[in-house]
């Protein structure tokens, strides 16, 4: 366990044993007397890494037949552009749910490609809730959702029931809970929360949904390019994919997504319980929509800020400063954050409550 309790919102904490293995591979990978980062991506040693990472994604999420797993570059932000290019028909339209900055960015990018219908938004209350009971236009080519909103601390607890294909940006909660992949035409997610370091983005895509837009798609934005070349159309981000593989191996070894879902629930319950019961704190997000990944909260008495900051800092807690657009605090509890770290934070909050409450 790290000496620091790392609540960073991403890039975020990774398992200590993964960091150890990654560190060794940078010097000597697979006993080749060569570094992982100085061998050909077409060597059998790296091809094995790529294949193992892809098959772990399939196994951990129960990805059904007919889906492909890709590891690409560019972050979810480049995904925002790939989505309309690959799924919005020329002359067609797409439906977007606006639940925060990144959801909104995804929508804006699609607007550059074609017609976009904003079906719901929580911008009216600074994205502190998840909209529900909105109509989904049957003529749209897909519905785009963002399952977890890191900045605001909200998370979709139920996915929308939709007659049109659903595409989800799961950057900040993939691998945190069980999902039914067959409900989605595509899931995509930047690695740097629950999967690995920054620098690669996973795409889980239903093959039969591709090739139907009638658009000319630039080579690197065309998911079929990368499917044909098995994520090696050009040099892949070797290190980020390798560390993702290690992190997924760690997850599998410990009991997979079913196990981590329970751990994540325990961590969230522990922290939200303290936020709700400690009169010095109040949660930011609508309670029904609270994220198990990112808990946002503020002080009821802003004058005590320096006191609280001193206390958590001296407990070796790191990364709980809130995002500038929300303020207060944000404790991110991604997969690799142990329950013990949440307990340390809760203990600090309790002590703070006793001292100043």
């Amino acid at each position: 366990m790290s000496k620091v309790h790392n609540f960073s919102a991403g890039p975020c904490i990774l398992p200590q044993e993964v960091l150890q293995q990654a560190s060794e591979a940078v010097i000597n990978f697979n006993n080749l007397d060569l570094s992982l980062i100085e061998i050909s991506h077409r060597s059998k040693d790296f091809i094995e890494v790529m294949e193992t990472a892809q098959s772990l994604v399939k196994e951990l999420l129960g990805v059904p037949e007919g889906y492909e797993v890709l590891f690409l570059q560019g972050g979810a932000s480049l995904g925002f552009l790939k989505v309309p290019y690959n799924f919005m028909k020329a002359g067609g339209s797409a439906a977007y749910v606006d639940t925060g900055t990144w959801a909104s960015n995804a929508m804006k990018e699609a607007q550059k490609v074609g017609d976009v219908i904003e079906v719901a938004s929580s911008a009216d209350k600074n994205y502190s809730y998840i909209p529900s009971n909105y109509p989904i236009p049957g003529e749209a080519d897909y519905l785009h959702i963002t399952t977890n909103n890191t900045i605001y601390g909200t998370q979709l607890k139920k996915f929308p029931i939709s007659r049109i294909p659903v595409i989800a940006d799961m950057s900040s909660d993939i691998f945190s809970q069980r999902i039914n992949v067959s409900n989605f035409d595509m899931i995509y997610a930047g690695a740097q929360k629950n999967m690995g370091p920054a620098g690669t983005t996973v795409y889980i895509v239903k093959k039969s949904a591709l090739g139907k837009t009638g658009r000319t798609i630039p080579t690197m934005l065309d998911l079929e390019t990368h499917i044909k070349k098995e994520s090696m159309f050009n040099t892949p981000p070797v290190f980020a994919i390798y560390v993702s593989m290690l992190t997924l191996q760690w997850l599998k070894k410990n009991g997979g997504v079913e196990w981590i879902e329970k751990v994540n629930q325990d961590k969230a319950d522990l922290l939200y319980n303290e936020i709700d019961n400690n009169p010095l704190f109040v949660g930011v997000a609508n309670p029904a929509d609270r994220s198990n990944m990112n808990a946002t909260f503020i002080l009821t008495n802003e004058e005590l800020k320096d006191e609280f900051d001193k206390m958590w800092q001296s407990a070796n807690i790191s990364g709980i400063k809130g995002h500038r657009s929300v303020g207060g605090y944000r404790a991110s509890m991604y997969n690799a954050l142990p329950l013990e770290s949440v307990q340390v934070l809760v203990d600090v909050m309790k002590e703070f409550g006793q001292k100043f409450g």
Copy 2:
């Protein structure tokens, strides 16, 4: 010095001390008790990495005022798309020199965006030479060149004199020799040869050349997006940028580009001299266009292949198998490959010549 003589064409050898520092940072970065890959990219520690890497690029290449240095994702292949979007006017055209697979891919991508004039090609002789004395159309918005062709072992020894702006893909020879950046409106290069690991691409771009196409550019493809956000519009590939910074520090400490240019010339002279004087070998590329980065050569007697392969393998040489589209051998001699490794290969070639010549 590595125990293996690593002639890999890319990802390729990096300095041993860089690998050592990178390995340590994966465990404990800047004595934070946190890994480099689990801290926020907006932390002061990482912002310092980004700024140091950018200023090293400027210092090592003598980048003049008015240019910006960016570290982005997607490889040069995504650069092939950014080039026409950012530099080809709506209704305009661009001139391309086709010197190999990657040059040709760059051209094909531009053809998806607008009118392309192929001003010269060496495809007629399997790209074994660099075309010269071709007319450059004065009405084109830019001339695109690829300065080194990894697969074929050719390199531009003189840059074209052009009245229109020149854009260069320098993926496989950037930082290997002195260049005059002011002759280019943009230089771009994947990191994974002379700069660092796979996963980031450097762009050196003249600011005043941007914003003039009249095109709607997708956010992530718009270089002005990344200039405004100092390469942090979205989460950057932290590890790849950090290792690039270390590699550039190594280069600076040893004497910079002026120093490495001489070392690279010595390595190339040593190997090409053996290729030319050993009757069992013949060079593939036109001698005047030979690359100092990648030497391609074949056996004069293909029946001796197994014998030669056994000999270099037992000398702990790695990565000299030729690309499938050229055959034979390719010895890549990027910046971090020591002269001693080239000497080992030359000694093997000499011994092979004595035994079977």
